[in-house]
């Protein structure tokens, strides 16, 4: 029964695919998976927008949206209708083709990332051997679409936003990749299914998630930071910086194209949360051995939503960074830490089993964190802001 529930979507797909003749079956299977992804994640997008608006409201001691439907739960529907019926404006001097293509490219590449994410046991759309590589290739393409949007709009705010976005996303792409490399070193595979398999083991009922190892934890923290910056979320939302840049790279977009950017942003958040959960939090594996009765796909989506809630919590808390703080933080703190983390992962591998490697690796990372933080704070690289003129 448990197994049945766990595999319910897989079995359903097989049942539907079995209805058509043999040669069409692979195509139908692919279409079904794509439809499922295209239905589920925009749905989650709607839920996370609602969560965000309600949650942020509560953090600011407001109620949040409460007009549409009971407790405002239909707010995303109202937002969607509003976006769809708005006039679609294209600036006169914009590059029309590129202006049109930018949101399409964003949505396409963002959804492509889902192809390799294992969303449950046997629930990977394309179980690729180099899944992680494919994911990062797709993730990096989002920068292209953002730059297309900023460049084609012929608007100084758009262009500035796009420049900031590209600078930021390329800077944080490096720690994002390097922190994931630690996981690749520990599992010896780029396949996301294999990475989850390795984590889906239990000792005394506790899982072997990578976040519970010293370098795994360090990589997890840095991955979370870099992922926040990658998805242009607060406190790294300089590309959108509404207080200074109107809306950043999508200033000139309205109506459905704006909705596409909005969707792309949230779906990218969900997707990178899924990757983070897969790499560090055991993907679809249950947090305790006895909880394995709960279907695997539930755990995957639960982990995504927890991650999203943390994103919202951060957005409600932190003020936006300044551009130089952002860059200093990426290149002078996160990047050295990830490089050190790679060395520590190697050390872990060669120290063999035993408690000694836990102590040594944790000590090295902790010392580096404290020392790096001290030095950085002292030289005002990423410490509290200091104002020369406006005191």
């Amino acid at each position: 029964m448990t197994n049945m529930l766990d595999q319910v979507f897989v079995l359903l797909k097989h049942r539907i695919v079995g209805l058509v003749p043999m040669p069409v079956q692979p195509i139908l299977g692919a279409v079904l998976s794509v439809v499922a992804i295209l239905a589920v994640f925009p749905g989650l997008f709607a839920i996370s927008v609602l969560l965000e608006r309600k949650g942020l409201g509560r953090m600011q001691n407001r109620i949040g949206p409460n007009r549409v439907g009971p407790l405002g739960v239909l707010q995303p529907v109202a937002d969607g209708i509003k976006a769809l019926i708005k006039e679609d404006l294209v600036p006169y001097s914009a590059d029309h083709v590129v202006h049109f293509l930018a949101p399409v490219v964003l949505v396409v590449v963002v959804f492509m990332g889902y192809a390799v994410l294992p969303m449950g046991r046997n629930m990977t759309f394309v179980p690729m051997d180099a899944g992680l590589l494919f994911y990062f290739a797709m993730g990096a393409s989002a920068e292209l679409s953002i730059f297309m949007a900023g460049w084609s709009s012929r608007n100084k705010y758009s262009l500035l936003g796009a420049m900031r976005a590209v600078a930021q996303m390329i800077s944080y792409e490096v720690p994002l990749l390097l922190s994931s490399v630690v996981i690749v070193m520990m599992t010896g595979s780029l396949s996301l299914d294999k990475i989850v398999e390795v984590q889906n083991q239990y000792t005394w009922g506790l899982p072997h998630w990578f976040v519970f190892t010293p370098m795994g934890f360090a990589a997890f923290v840095m991955f979370a930071i870099a992922a926040t910056a990658e998805t242009n979320r607060s406190p790294f939302d300089l590309p959108e910086g509404e207080s200074e840049l109107v809306a950043g790279y999508f200033t000139e977009y309205s109506g459905f194209k704006f909705a596409e950017f909005f969707l792309g942003e949230y779906v990218a958040m969900l997707s990178i949360s899924g990757l983070g959960a897969t790499l560090f939090l055991g993907g679809w594996s249950a947090p305790l051995e006895i909880l394995n009765v709960v279907p695997s796909w539930f755990w995957f989506f639960a982990k995504i939503m927890v991650w999203i809630c943390f994103y919202i919590w951060m957005r409600g808390t932190f003020p936006r960074l300044r551009q130089d703080q952002l860059m200093n933080f990426a290149w002078k703190f996160v990047l050295p830490m990830t490089l050190l983390n790679l060395l520590v992962a190697g050390l872990w591998r060669f120290m063999g089993e035993g408690w000694l490697r836990w102590v040594v690796c944790s000590a090295i990372l902790l010392a580096a964190y404290v020392l790096g933080g001290r030095i950085g704070m002292r030289s005002k690289k990423f410490g509290p802001r200091s104002y020369r003129y406006a005191e």
């Binding site: 509560r58 001691n61 109620i63 919590w313 808390t317 790096g372």
Partner: protein, 205 residues
């Protein structure tokens, strides 16, 4: 240590988040259309015309002097004088506005018309829910739509209205006194003349 402040900040927002579910006094927002707070006495939106008594047309204090029309910075007031006259609150015959329009889509609520009016005839209303689906006609108020009773004025701005009433009563008393004095003087003048020529036999009136 690096990151300490971040954790503190996260703790603060978490406290707010949880607290907003527990304690009601944290949620200070007034859910506007359903519940509303009383407007402060000094609040103002757009001007209205004050009238005394029951009949708005007879009681309008405005004498169509057109000072407000001239002073209005965005020129949103339009006045046409009447041909005939009607008595004002003292009883003196005055012309009145045959037409008094205010375009509240132009009005900027500066209150200058109120300040320049020598007759306490135009005052600021605090009614702000004036949305209409007719952009032009619906926002152009004529004198009937602008007329509000003195009681209404007392209700929305009690202190100010009391001052105005006191001032008007004083002026009225002064005017009556003056009229009485004038009448007395005329009578005094008439009395010796009558005493001098009693032979004519005219009765003093």
């Amino acid at each position: 240590m690096l990151g300490e402040g971040l954790l503190k900040g996260l703790g603060e927002t978490a406290r707010n988040f949880a607290g907003s579910f527990v304690s009601k006094e944290r949620l200070t927002t007034v859910q506007y259309p359903e519940e509303r707070e009383p407007l402060p006495e000094a609040s103002r939106a757009f001007p209205f015309l004050v009238y005394d008594g029951a009949d708005w047309e007879a009681g309008l204090r405005c004498v169509a002097c057109q000072i407000c029309e001239k002073e209005c910075p965005p020129k949103c007031i339009y006045i046409e004088k009447s041909k005939d006259k009607k008595p004002d609150y003292v009883g003196k015959p005055q012309i009145y506005p045959a037409k008094f329009d205010i375009d509240i889509s132009v009005c900027m609520s500066c209150q200058i018309c109120v300040e320049v009016c020598p007759f306490e005839a135009i005052k600021m209303d605090n009614q702000f829910e004036l949305a209409t689906d007719d952009r032009f006609g619906g926002l152009l108020y004529d004198r009937k739509e602008l007329a509000r009773s003195n009681e209404y004025y007392h209700k929305i701005h009690p202190t100010e209205a009391a001052e105005v009433d006191a001032r008007l009563a004083e002026e009225k008393a002064k005017a009556e006194e003056k009229a009485k004095a004038v009448a007395a003087a005329a009578a005094a003048k008439a009395a010796p003349a009558m005493a001098a020529k009693p032979a004519e036999g005219a009765q003093p009136q």
